[in-house]
Every structure is written in C-alpha cells, then in structure tokens.
Symmetry: D2
Subunit: 429 residues, 4 copies
C-alpha cells in the first residue's frame, strides 16, 4: 500500500470543486475531436500511461555561479528529496520514478529502496558525477575525468561509474547516465584526438561491466563548464560513442545542450532512425543550458520533439526512449515547477497524438507544405488540458496541480521541519 | 609550356622593387625562427607545395537575394573563368587546380581540358547542382532533388550527378562534391526520416558509379536555402552518410556552414580521427554562410583548423584532405579576393607548421593550459609573410600579390573585351 | 460598392458547411472564458477591428541567392498584385491595406488608387528601395546608398525617398518605411562613424520633407545583404536615429532581424516605453531573416510580442503601432501563406487579450514567478480559432480560409491568364 | 618608494638572458616599420603609457555552477589580493590600478589605501554587488535589487551603492561600476516597463550622490544569472540609461556580454560617437559570458575594438574610456592569466596604432574594400612583441612574463603561507 504525503482528502476536496467543469470541458473537447475522427478516451489512455522521471537534485533550489538564493524548506538529504518527489508523483500521477545522483544521493541502498517503495516510487537512471570533486577524493577532476591525461584520474572516474552501477543494481535501476564536464578552456589546452581516445577507452571499461539488461546513456552538451571545447560536444560525437560502445549504448538528448538555432527535433529523428536515441532530459532554454521549466520558453519546439517521437513509435519496433526532467529551479518552488513541467511534457505528447498522421503524410507526399504544417498546428493549438486533468483525476491525482498543492500547504509544513539554508556563493565569478 | 596571361616581365619588374626587402625580412625571420629551433627553409618548402583549388564560380561577382551588383569585365563563360583562374595561379603559385560546377560550366570536355592545360591548370572536384533548375529541365527541384518524394525527380538528380562524374573522368578530375539545398521551410513539410532514406538511396546509386580512384565529398550546411530543416544539416548527419556509402565517401567541411559558436576545429579533429575528413571549402563568415574571404573575419579560427590538420598529418597515414576556396565576392574584384584568400589559407598552414609540437604535447600532458595555449599563440603571431612571399618568388609568382595584379592592369583589359553585365535581381526578397 | 474577386456565393456555400460547428464551438468557448471572467463577444469585437497590411511583394514567389522556383499564376504587375491582395482581404477580412514598394510597384498613382478602391483597399506605408539598382539608375548602390561616401549617390537615394513620399501622398499613404542594405563586408571597408553621419544627414533631408501627418519608420537588421557590418544594425542604433530625426520618426521591428537568442518582446517594450515603437514587419524565422510565415516556427514568441502590445495599449496614450506582414514565400502559394499569417497574427492578439492582467500584475508584484508565467500560458493555450472564425464570418469572410480559397479555384484561374515565369537565378552564389 | 614583491634581481637576471635578442628583434622590427613610415619608438611610448586595471576578484580561482576547483595559494582576503595584483603590476608595468568589489573586499579604507600605496598601486572603479546576498543582509535580491518590486529592497540596493561611493572616495577611486543580475527567468515573471522604471528611479537616486569628478558606469549583459530577460540586456538599454541619468553616466562594454555574432566593435563606435562610451571589461568568450583570457579565442576581434578606439581618440576630444580586465580563471594560475591578458590588450592597442590611417581612409573613400581591409590586416599581423617587451624592460618589468614569473617561484611561496581551500560546490546545478 502506498503512503500518501498529501492527505488524499485534500485532493478530493479540491477536485470536487472542479470536477463538473472538467467533465463539461472533456465532453466538449471530445465532440470537437470526434469531428476530426479522434477518440478522446484512447488519447487519454495513452496519456495516462506516460511517465517522466524526476531528478532527485531538481527538488532543491538551483543557482548560478553568481549566487544561489535558497528556498523555504529545502530537502536536507535524499530522503527528504524522495518525499518531495512523492508529492509530485501523487498530484501528477505522471512521475513514478526518481533519478539519483551519486555521490549527492549516496546512502544505504536498501534504505533508499525502502524509502521509495513506501510511495510506490521506482528508480530511473543512475547519474554519475565526475564534474566536481567529492570531499576526500584522491584525484581532482579539475582537468578532466574519464578523458584525463592522467591514468589514475581516469581509473578513479571509471571506478565511480562502476560504483553507480552497483548501487543501481541494488535499488532496481536499469540504466546509467554519463555526463561529464571534460573539455578545455583554451585552444591547445588539450589534444582533441588524444582526449577523445582516453574518453572512449574509459567508457569501454565502464561498458564492460554494464549488466545485460541495462542501458548506458551518454549526454552531449555544447559548452559549460568547459568554455572552449567539450569532449562530448554534440550529437555527432555522441553518436560515434554509442556506435563504438555497442548495442546497450544510447544517446541522451538534453533540450538545452545545443548550439543556437539548431533544429533539435531533427536530431531526435536522426538518432531514432539509426537506433541510438536513448532518451531525454527535458527542460527549456532561451540562451544556453538555462535549465528552465520544460515548455516555458518555446512550447512549440517541445511539441515538435514529441511529434517525432510519435512518428518514431509507429515506425520503429522496440522504441522506448527514457523521459526525464532535468531543470534548475532558481526562483520557483521546485515542486511546483516539476509538477507543471511533467504536465507540460505530457501535454506535448497528447498534442502530438492528435496529429492527423494520414493527412500529414499525404500533404508531405504531394509537397503541400502549407497543409502539412497546418496539420501540426491544428494539433498543437488544441487545448488538451481536459485530457491531462481527466487522466490525473482517474488515477487519484489533482485536477488543478498548482491550486491543490498550494491548498495542501506542503511547503509551509516542511519549512517548519527543515532548517533554513544559508544563502550562497558570491565569489565564483 | 605554360602560357602566361600576365606578362612575366611585369611580375619581374614588380618583384625587383621588393626583392631586397624580402631577402632582409626572410633572413631576419629565419634567425628568429632558428632561435626556436625551426628551419625556415623547410617551412618554406612545405608552403611551396601547398595547393588550394579555385572554384570556377568564384571569379564571377556574387550577390544576395536582394541584389547583385556586377563588376567590371566579368567572365562570360567557363573559358573566361579559366583565364581568370590562370591569373590567380600565375601570381600566387598556390592554386594549380580549378573546380567546375555543372551545368554552369558545361562545355565540350576536351575543350575544357585543353583550355586548362594551356595554363598548366588541372581540375579539382566536380560540383553537381541540384539546388536550382536548369533551363529545360524536366522535373523541378523546388521541393527537393536527391531526397524528393518523387522518384522521377530523384532519378533526374542521380543522372545529373552521374553526368558530372562522366565529364570529370574526361578532364581528369578525381572527385565529386555533392551539396544539395534539400530540406524544408515549415515544420511538417517533410518527414525527416523518409526524406533522409530517399537521400541515402539516391546517393548509393551515385556512389555505385563512382570510379575506384575517385572520392565523393558530401557537404553539410545548417540552413539556406531551406529555412526550417536541411537534409545534410551538420557533421553528424554527414558522418552517417559517409559511413553508409563506403570507403570512398568523405565529409566536406565548409567553414561557414555551422551553427553560431560551434567549435569547427573540433569537428575537423573528429572527422580526421574517424577517417572521414574529405576536405574543405574555405571562406569566412560572421553571421551565416556569408562566404567572405578566408581569414577576413576570424583569422585565428583558420589557424586553429590548420593546427588540427598539421596534427592529423603526423597522426594518421594516408591523410590528404582536399583544399578548395568557396567564396562569394560581392564588393571586391574576385581575382583579388581569391589571390589573397589563397595566400591567407597558406598563411594559416605556415603558422601551424611553426607550432612547437613537442612543447605543446608536454604542456597538454601536464595540464599546463597557459603554456599550451601560448604555444599556439606564439606560432600564430609570427608574421610569416616573408615565407609565403619567398615561396611565390621562387616559383615565379608575385612578392606583392595585390600590387602586382593592379600594376598589370588585367581587370581593365578584360573589361574592354567582356561586355558589361546588367545589374540584378530585385524582387527575390 | 466593393468588387469581389471570389464569388461571395462560394464563400457562403463553404461557410454553410461549417457554421453549425462554429456556433457550437464559439458557444462552448464562450462558456469556458466566462468562467475566467472574460466576455467572448468583446474579444471578438476587438479582433474584428484588427488590421495587418499585406506587402505587395509578398504575393509573388520569393527565392534565395541560390534559386527562385516560380509558382503558378504569379502576378505580372502591381495591378495583378492588388487583385491577389483583394482575395486575401476578402477571405480574411483582416487585411484592408496594401504596402507598396517603389520602384517595383511604380505606376500611375491615380490608377493605383482606383485599382485599390475597387476592392475597398487602402494603402499602408510606402517602401523605398535603395538596396538594389533600378534599371537606368545613374549611381550604383553597390557600396551604399543613404550612407554612401559619395554625395551624388546619397542625393540620388534621398531623391528616391522623396519620390516615394510624393507617390504616397497621392494614393493616401501616411508613412514611409526606410530599410537599407548599407553596411560593409570587411573589417575596415567603411568607417562606422563617418558612415553613420552620412546616413543621419541623408535621413534628415528626407525627414525635412515628410508631411506633418506622416510617420517615418526606420528598420534595423543585423546582417544581410551586408555581412560584416550593417548601418542600422539593431534597435539601439534605430532608437538613436528616431531620436535624432524627431517626433515623426519611429522604429520598425521586423521579427527576423535580430541576433540569435535575442529577447524581442523586451525590445518591443523598451521602444514603446520610450515612445519610439513604430510598428512591425511580422514573419517568423529559425536562423536569420528567413521570412517564413508569421507564427510558423515559434508561435509563443509572437504571442509574447502581442502580450507587450496589449500591455502597452493600456499603459501609453496615443499608442498605435503599424502592423505589416513581410514574408518570402518560396514553397507555398503566397496567398495561402499570407491569409494564414494574417490569421496567426490576429490569433496572437486574441490570445494576448485573454491574459488575466490583474492576476498577472499581482503575481508579478509578489514575485510569484510560476503563477505569473501560468497566467500567460493559460491565455496562450486557449484555442481562439472560434473567435477568429466568427469575426470573419460576421464580416463576410471565410470560416475556413484554406478550404474556401482552394474551393474557389483562384490560383488555377489566374494561372490560365498569367503566363508562366521562367525559373531563376543560378549563379548568384 | 615602491615595495617589490618579486625580488628585482630575479627580473634582472631573467631579462639579462633575453635582452640581446630583444634588442635585435626591436631593431629589425623598427626597420620594417620604418619602411611603412612608422617610428617604432613613438609606438613604444604610447604602449608604455597604456594601463589596464586588474579586478581584485580576478586573482582568485573562478568556477562554474557545477564546481570550483581551487588553485594553490589562493588569496585569503583583499590584502593577499593586493599583493597578487602588485606582482602583476611589477612584471607587466601595465596594470597600476586595482578595481575593488564590495562587499567582497570590504575592509578599513585607510588600510586598503596603505596596502595599495606600498606597491604604488591606485584604485580603479568601485564595483557594487547586488547580484548575491551578503551574510546578514535584510532583504534578499532573489527577485531583483535596484529594479525589485519591493521598495525596501530597492532602497537597500541604493544604499549599498552609496556605500561603495563612500569607500571609493576615501581610497581615491573616481568611478562606480554598476552591474546587476536583475531580470526574470520566465515570460510574465516581471513587467518589463515597470521593472525598468524601478531601475531608472533607483539609479537616479544613486546618481544624485555621485561626486562631480566621478563617473558612473552601467554594464549591459544579455543573460545570466537571469535566463529569460535581463533589465540591462544590451547597449540600446544601456545607452538609454546613460542618457536618462546625465553627463557623468557612461556605458561599460564587457566583450562577453553580447548575443552570438554581434559586431561589438560597431557598438563601441556608436557609443563613442554619441559620447557614452565609458570603458571596457576585457575578456574573451566563445559561447556566452565565458570570461576567458582577453584575446584567447578571437584576437582579431580585440584588435578591431582597439582599431575603433584609436580612431575615436583622433576624432573626439576628451575621449578616455576606462580599461579593466574582467575574467574568471578556472584552470590557470590567475596571476599568469592576468599578466598575459594585460599584455594581449596592450598588443591589440599597439597593433591598432600601426594602422595606416591615411591609406585606410583613402581606401574607404574610394570603396576599395580589399585595400581597406588589408590595411587592417597588415597592422594586425605585425608581431609587436618586441615593442611590448621593450616597453616593459624600460620600466623595470619582465621581458618574458611567464618565464620570469615562474622563475621567481611566487606561487609556491604563497602556497606555503596561504592554506589550501576546500573544493567546491556540487549541487548548484
């Protein structure tokens, strides 16, 4: 039996105020979709099955190199974080898994498993960290980790990844995500070819220990923390890595990790076509890796990504990319942001399901560019909120995520228990 | 025996005015390099061997969709163009080959060969054109060529490429460069996966007819003429193409075809490392595919590219990427721009040869980022003009490219023969 | 009485098929908006008043420097163009004005006026052209026009602008839009300060002749056709121009003329705040000045621009920026693109009208970032199509723009009368 | 008398090894410049007068939101920092001032003055900090400072700036630099117009207290730490601020604070032309505000900026923009980076002094784009190191900055005294 952090009676009361309107809206939307030959209930069913993982580090307040401004009631450890994740899962009914970060979330694996099980939460991909130095660490990653010029440093980074796999095995994870900050800040600082050779050799050592039913995800990023070059800088390099490693290796796409103006949905299509799309870190951005809430800046782009996923689902067998949020919440309550982001990712999926695939294909085949793009626009501008809300309602979640969460007063309650955190940084400019 | 367009006596007279200073400068530079353990003559010897191809279309005045402002004495046909290229080759002694564009340069292959031989010019890669409709063409490429949804259109584009190979065989070319404008202007206009399948199938048909001693170069470009998606949009897709086609297929890097901020020298390194760097279209740009003169905007970037090439030369066997200029000259005399661009490409090569490779490697190995980047900077800020000029002088070229060309009065002479061209465009906005 | 190009009975018949569904949808949307305290009819009334000008050049098929692929039945002259614009106005009921381009649209002003009046069309801003050379023009604009180093060239450009004003006076225009391509392709080619002085002096000469009830709009653009620097490169320079010229001078914002990642809605806010927002050239873009259909790439950005306009409307008196489409239609029927773009601009306006301004302000005041952004998102994700369609229906337009236009067979009809145009370009690379 | 941190005898010994070569190189360069009509000694004299301020925070090791990897012997407080700055000044003889950051450098002003005087150092602009919360601060700047919706917060930020002025008065500073992080992370989070009104009102309050012989510099930045909008986002807004405040208000240009592809030298020209160029924060960047060493990524851009400054110097009276380095040293010894950056800024200045201004102007006037850009290129590719080194030598600095610094063993010495700092961050992602 699942423990509930938010008293279900609060959710029920909040839902009760909204349920009649929801039924009216759902019915009215159903009629409009019916005219387009779409059965609203089957869309709802697919939406209800949709899951996106919540990153443990996402429930803390983020910051920049200039400052971090703490929020109220910040989680003190991974167990507090799991409780925050449980709130998100309870209200959204769309985030049944948590993704851990080692060493930040290091704890007795059995205790971790127990803590999550209490809320019926599972564990998504394990995330290793060789982009910062853990206390007491022998070798520093200042000049690189898996791609370091120093064999001892590389070995330490390999061992750390193997440890993440070990922890993951105990708690039921089935994947390892590897993102490194390795690169360089100056032309000439590193030799690109040597550095990449080191990286590949290290990753092969990690891959060799990957259980058969696991996947390894490598994540590319154009820049930051390295500001001249980055070892895994784009999907081209990422694709090469996945090919070199083997069939359990896949590419992870973080929406904020690309050069300006890049067509991300096309990268998604290419990786899917060549069997190497591992999954996503969802978020949104305007400038760099801004890590804003998914859909907050360019919701149409998010839809276009899901348009590719729905297309790929029908096109390729055994296609099941991982979905994870990866955001930094500097000015909002992280739980609120994560709930609404999970919902916005679901929204994009729901809208993509509404695309008239047959009409789209015909328009494409006859070079009717306008009709083709209108097929996407028609689906996109459909307000699918009633579908999302109904899916939540039927699973015990909240019709109104924000209203219900605020009504429950969760943040104020934990702020009483969890001590205020000192402000931050100043100096890392 | 080579015919000379510019009377050699003019070159000699111009050189005579400058030769004493050149000898003094060469000697003085030689001493400074000697202190760094570098033998100036061996650098000069390498520079003298360097060749970069001139594109036939580069000697005409370029333009934009808004207007084209003609220049004086523009070449009327490929034979005029070959003469212009001969001037560039005579003065720079660094551009002994011409790259043709079909159908723009279509003519009796034997006449082409003869015209070029007269000036001891050879032919570099053939360039096919399926990004515009040739007069009388059956199918339009408005909605794509090699990747079109229409089989007839694809076949026409394949046939055109095969024709380019045929012409090339006669005139002694050994490579085919394929750049297409295929893509889309609207989300949904094309299906990315289907379109790429069509492209790959078409290219396989072309590849099947490629002679054994030829190479095929595919060129990626982020955007333009397509403004939402482009089939070969980046090096990632380009690499996949080269892998799918086979061992005679290589990727061509045009310096202006990337997303803002992208680290191009790193792409060069990756392609070299995985055996797929075919060569370059050199030019420079500030915004998009501006096609400005090589080194005009960011000369250090050009140097960093050559730094990779010199590194790769020592690292990989059988490494010989093709060098070609690809520029659009809207406000300069194209011959002047091409001469100086050839020289600036050579300059970057010469500077890269000056890098203390041993010192650089040591600095990299010991994570001495500052010393490493200074090794590059020291080489880069060396004024190698005396080396370039001496290499030219010894081969019969001009010490002062611009001064000698202007003194020869070539442009004025051809302007008398070649009729003025009507201004242009207006309306293609 | 207004002449109709499309037989009204066709529109009626098409509308008849859709009117019942529209009423149902409008009613249902009205109920949902009513719950949010919004009266749908008052929104509809505002939407019905909204007008966006159509550019005469927009009804022709556009192209790039690589090629232009003609469409069927392209307009032969300005009178054909006016007919095409009349079709757009008839079906959308949102584009009652046409914006002319001189010299492309040069004709007897009285004939122009008559031709437009026949369809109850008016004339929006006049557009001068000094970015290309007109046939027979004395001085070339190859190296600049209003900012040329040559006084004769500057004067010619000034005279051309004065001529545009003269024509405009006759046909009832009230504004002159000045966009120039002046700039440079190479560092050093021009002196920035001198060039800008020339520009300002020239503009002051034009401004001196501007009628009292006219406005002059200057348009900034980052690059293209100049590829190193552009005289009016951004809103900062544009603002200085408007300040230097005087109170009839305003800045025009083209959504595609900015650097990557720039926050355009913020520029809109700044210009409005300092009394210098003249108006818009609406279009959309992914890379540069792609001139794609408004809302085709990033519809949320278009909404955010209108969110500023609705805010400014309430904040500043005498605020009435000009709305104009400025697009290039390379792969679609230009009439279809312009109709849907006019509708998408209207859509963004309608959505912006739905924002809960009071709630937004409260959230902003209390730093409730999430509630604030949700206020925008809620308005944006409302499908306002029933409002737009109802506004059209009530004014005699088409419920379904694309369906009705295609049913009317206009393109096929004009294709019979207007001869096919030869394909284009090839060579301006 | 000036105290010396590095024993002058070490410098002398190091110089002794290099002085003969330097004299030879200086003489040889002098001859080559003489041919171009340039007197090397007068260039050296100008270079010797050149000064660039060092930021106190620059001598500490920087970091990113992901991690900070400490260096050896990091300064513990402002007095250690002043000693590090004294080393830079001693060896480069080009950095006689230090720029302080309050509250990071807060200390008894008289002690500060004394500490600096000991090394003959002066104080450049004061830098206020309202982008992070100081310990014990009443109001948080989480949602803004000078532009906050809360009057108390704005007042606190105003008071902080006034305090900076007070400290500055005591220590002999003559300027206040104001950079804030205020902005928003989400569309709608703030009202752009209201926020900017608040900002202007606050700045007017600060400006009112600015001493008559002071300047106030405002600094624009596109993004970071705010990721959707920033109050002072570009030079357009910055220019408006300077105009609104008054004649003691000027714009500060940080080379890394612009949108991708922006032509920064043109902004420099515009601000100079309209009397509002206050000065610079020099650094270099490839992606965003990377804060890399000046000239490390695009040295030609740095030269082009100085080309504008030399042009402006001759054009406008009373033109004396402030020069300051502002960099973040994550992987290098900060002293080494700052020394070489100061030298690279000087280098760009020296190269700009070599431009043939008369020839450039003639080429510009006659639209000889190629000759114009070659005038810049010729100056730029001159290796002016002998001029810089000779200027240093004659003032008691080091011919070889890096070699001498390393020979002196300064870092090892302070590492013995200054305790190692704990690694950092982890979690602010």
């Amino acid at each position: 039996m699942t423990d509930h952090i938010i008293d279900p009676s609060i959710i029920e009361a909040e839902n009760a105020d909204r349920v009649d309107d929801l039924h009216a809206d759902y019915e009215s939307l159903g009629e409009r979709l019916d005219r387009r030959g779409i059965d609203i209930d089957s869309i709802k069913a697919k939406v209800a099955e949709f899951n996106v993982a919540v990153p443990s580090w996402g429930v803390g307040t983020g910051g920049t190199r200039f400052a971090r401004f703490p929020g109220l009631g910040e989680p003190r450890d991974i167990f507090d974080k799991i409780e925050d994740c449980a709130v998100i899962a309870q209200l959204t009914q769309a985030t049944s898994t948590v993704s851990l970060h080692i060493p930040w979330d290091k704890a007795d694996p059995n205790r971790l498993k127990q803590a999550a099980s209490r809320f019926s939460l599972g564990f998504d991909a394990m995330n290793s960290n060789t982009f910062s130095d853990a206390r007491g660490q022998l070798q520093s990653y200042k000049f690189g980790s898996l791609s370091s010029t120093d064999a001892g440093t590389r070995n330490q980074a390999i061992e750390h990844n193997l440890e993440c796999i070990e922890i993951g095995k105990t708690i039921g994870s089935k994947a390892l995500t590897v993102w490194i900050g390795d690169g360089s800040n100056f032309p000439g600082q590193t030799n690109f070819a040597t550095q990449f050779e080191h990286y590949l050799d290290s990753m092969k050592a990690v891959y060799a220990e990957l259980p058969d039913d696991w996947r390894i995800y490598t994540e590319h990023k154009m820049y930051e923390p390295a500001f001249y070059s980055t070892v895994v800088q784009d999907w081209g390099t990422n694709y090469i890595i996945a090919k070199e490693l083997g069939e359990k290796a896949f590419c992870l796409v973080d929406l904020g990790h690309h050069a300006p103006n890049v067509n991300i949905e096309m990268i998604v299509s290419r990786l899917a076509q060549f069997g190497k799309l591992g999954g996503f870190h969802f978020n949104d951005s305007k400038y760099g890796d801004d890590d804003l809430d998914a859909g907050a800046i360019d919701p149409y782009r998010l839809f276009l990504v899901f348009n590719e996923l729905v297309d790929a689902e029908a096109r390729y067998k055994d296609f099941h990319p991982a979905h994870m949020l990866d955001q930094s919440h500097n000015v909002t309550d992280p739980i609120e942001s994560l709930m609404l982001s999970a919902s916005d990712v679901q929204r994009a999926y729901a809208q993509a399901l509404l695309v008239d695939r047959k009409g789209l294909k015909d328009a494409q085949q006859s070079n009717d560019a306008l009709a083709a793009t209108q097929a996407l626009r028609l689906a996109y501008r459909t307000d699918v909120e009633p579908i999302l809300a109904m899916a939540r309602l039927e699973k015990g979640g909240a019709i109104d995520l924000l209203g219900t969460y605020r009504a429950a007063g969760y943040r104020a309650k934990v702020a009483e228990i969890r001590p205020a955190v000192e402000g931050g940084s100043g100096g890392i400019v």
